[in-house]
């Protein structure tokens, strides 16, 4: 079963590293030197996670690299210091990659396969040897063994064994990827194929070694704030319920962090609703069989890279982020815009939208709060945001929220039949391919890459169930 919150020990280490980096960057005099972070986190003669303290430190150094926004694949010289990486990253306009594989942390999991464990009792019936269509199972020294050269991974031996002695050992990152974008490279380490990747971020949480990380933009945002630039935080609707704090306290906290203004992306969502409802009425009247939503950037990537035949059905309406950023820049072209959300694919969308300068995540915002010692419950609860966004727009972050909102504003002639794809996986992608061929079960399809909607995003702090409840209560 998937854990409710995206939290495990590997995530914790990443968050702690981010906090330490923010401290070192914003308060260099009072904090540990950047290059000492691996040593501080893994002092000698302490417990280690991996084989030895030195390997742990090496992995932490690569985590620092990714946290600074530099892909580990871009390493040229192993002796480049974390401080030098900070200098390099601040000179770049954008990251070379969105996701990076820490090859040192990657365990090079062998391809998914079946394995007979010690639970095998070498029974007399030996059904495993009988059901195998390739004669790959034989009993050696009283234990059944699979000849991997002959095995075709059909799994029949697993179903046949009464002792549950046969296990299937998966490759977690590969299994989590809905589009087959991650596979073993020549040395067994995993490689992400950018031509296929839809930046859904599922692999980040799937890898038990935490070997896949996103390339962050936090230090870029910090540099803008330090320079004194006007920085506007554009906060995703999924923020609702992330922290034990209300919007007033969150806004106050973001001001303390140095954001000059804070806007809710839900305001842009209201524009998306109005435009998309109109577009939908128009397209259905024209005889188009169905239209899909377009606000999930991972789905947009999926359509472009894997289901080109559905692209004509994807709504042309700009996303809530696009509308929000456009308005912010129209009001003040000199401002730098930062989207704060639960999503990785938004970083890709951000690079494609001229009005979006940076994208950071809820986890990264959390790290900024911790580093700055901001305690949300101590923030003043004084009205600061005029919440102009409608309740429908604020529900964009949960599955069926978008389709309900658009349906609520729909005024077309054709009867509306909305259908939701709640989470992208191999199965739902096959469904979408069938829809494109004319087998759509409805005429308005909402697609969310993350199960449950944005509240189930790869970079959330709160459990999806808890934040869904907070949003449903709006």
């Amino acid at each position: 079963m998937m854990p409710e919150a995206k939290y495990n020990n590997a995530r914790r280490i990443c968050r702690e590293i981010m906090i330490r980096i923010i401290n070192a960057v914003t308060r260099p005099k009072d904090s540990t030197d950047l290059d000492r972070i691996p040593l501080e986190m893994r002092p000698l003669r302490n417990n280690t996670t991996r084989c030895c303290v030195y390997k742990d430190r090496a992995v932490i150094k690569y985590r620092c690299m990714a946290s600074l926004g530099i892909a580990v694949e871009d390493e040229v010289d192993e002796l480049t210091t974390i401080k030098e990486y900070l200098g390099q990253t601040l000179k770049r306009k954008s990251n070379s990659r969105f996701l990076t594989v820490l090859d040192v942390a990657c365990s090079s999991c062998p391809d998914a396969h079946y394995h007979i464990t010690d639970a095998c009792r070498g029974c007399a019936a030996r059904p495993c040897t009988m059901v195998c269509p390739k004669d790959a199972v034989s009993v050696i020294n009283g234990k059944a063994k699979i000849d991997t050269d002959k095995c075709i991974n059909c799994g029949k031996c697993q179903s046949a064994c009464s002792f549950h002695a046969v296990v299937r050992i998966p490759v977690p990152c590969e299994e989590s990827c809905p589009v087959g974008a991650i596979a073993s490279g020549p040395d067994g380490k995993k490689v992400i194929d950018d031509e296929k990747c839809i930046y859904c971020g599922k692999c980040i949480n799937a890898c038990p070694f935490g070997a896949i990380m996103e390339c962050s933009q936090v230090v870029h945002v910090l540099a803008e704030i330090t320079k004194g630039t006007d920085v506007t935080a554009m906060v995703a609707p999924a923020m609702e319920g992330q922290f034990e704090a209300n919007w007033n306290q969150l806004t106050a906290a973001m001001h303390v962090l140095g954001f000059t203004s804070v806007v809710q992306v839900a305001e842009g969502a209201d524009e998306t609703i109005a435009h998309e409802a109109e577009e939908l009425a128009h397209k259905l009247a024209e005889g188009q069989k169905f239209m899909t939503t377009s606000c999930c950037p991972s789905y947009v990537q999926l359509a472009k890279k894997h289901i080109p035949e559905i692209c004509g059905n994807v709504s042309d309406t700009p996303s809530p982020l696009a509308f929000t950023a456009r308005k912010v820049k129209a009001d003040n072209p000199d401002v730098k815009t930062v989207f704060i959300g639960p999503c990785l694919a938004k970083r890709k969308e951000g690079t494609e939208l001229e009005d979006v300068d940076y994208v950071i995540t809820f986890e990264e915002l959390g790290a900024m709060l911790v580093a700055t010692e901001i305690f949300l419950d101590e923030m003043p609860d004084i009205a600061q945001v005029d919440g102009t966004a409608s309740a429908a727009a604020r529900k964009f972050a949960i599955s069926s929220g978008v389709s309900s909102a658009v349906a609520g504003s729909y005024a077309g002639e054709t009867a509306l039949n909305p259908v939701c794809i709640d989470g992208l996986d191999k199965k739902s992608i096959a469904l979408l391919k069938a829809y494109a061929k004319g087998k759509a079960p409805g005429n308005f399809i909402e697609v969310m890459s993350c199960t449950g909607g944005c509240v189930g995003g790869p970079c959330v702090l709160q459990s999806a169930a808890k934040s869904r409840k907070a949003i449903e209560n709006i």
Binding site: A5, Y7, I19, L369, V370, F375
Partner: protein
């Protein structure tokens, strides 16, 4: 009569939340039924233990006013089990 319950305060402050207090989301429900009369679990406002750069010990839990750093449900359960084993554990409350 030892009727004082063991007080478990789970810090719900910002630092502890970011660094993993989410693990305690259903902690109370996961306790063995026979413990329920001896243990009281509360989500506390920031306990203040993370301040002055001590964030790396988060999440914190306080058991009868003794702070536990890098708390996990397993770690806290262990401490409770030990206290319940020894009658004086309840006396200390």
């Amino acid at each position: 009569m030892h009727n004082k319950k063991i007080q478990i305060e789970i810090c719900a402050g910002t630092t502890c939340f970011v660094l993993g207090s989410v693990q305690f989301e259903s902690f109370e429900e996961s306790l063995p039924a026979e413990w329920k009369d001896f243990v009281e679990v509360t989500a506390s406002r920031c306990l203040g233990l993370c301040r002055k750069g001590k964030f790396s010990g988060a999440p914190y839990v306080r058991i009868n006013s003794v702070p536990i750093g890098n708390a996990t449900p397993e770690k806290v359960m262990e401490v409770i089990a030990e206290m319940l084993d020894l009658p004086e554990g309840l006396n200390d409350a």
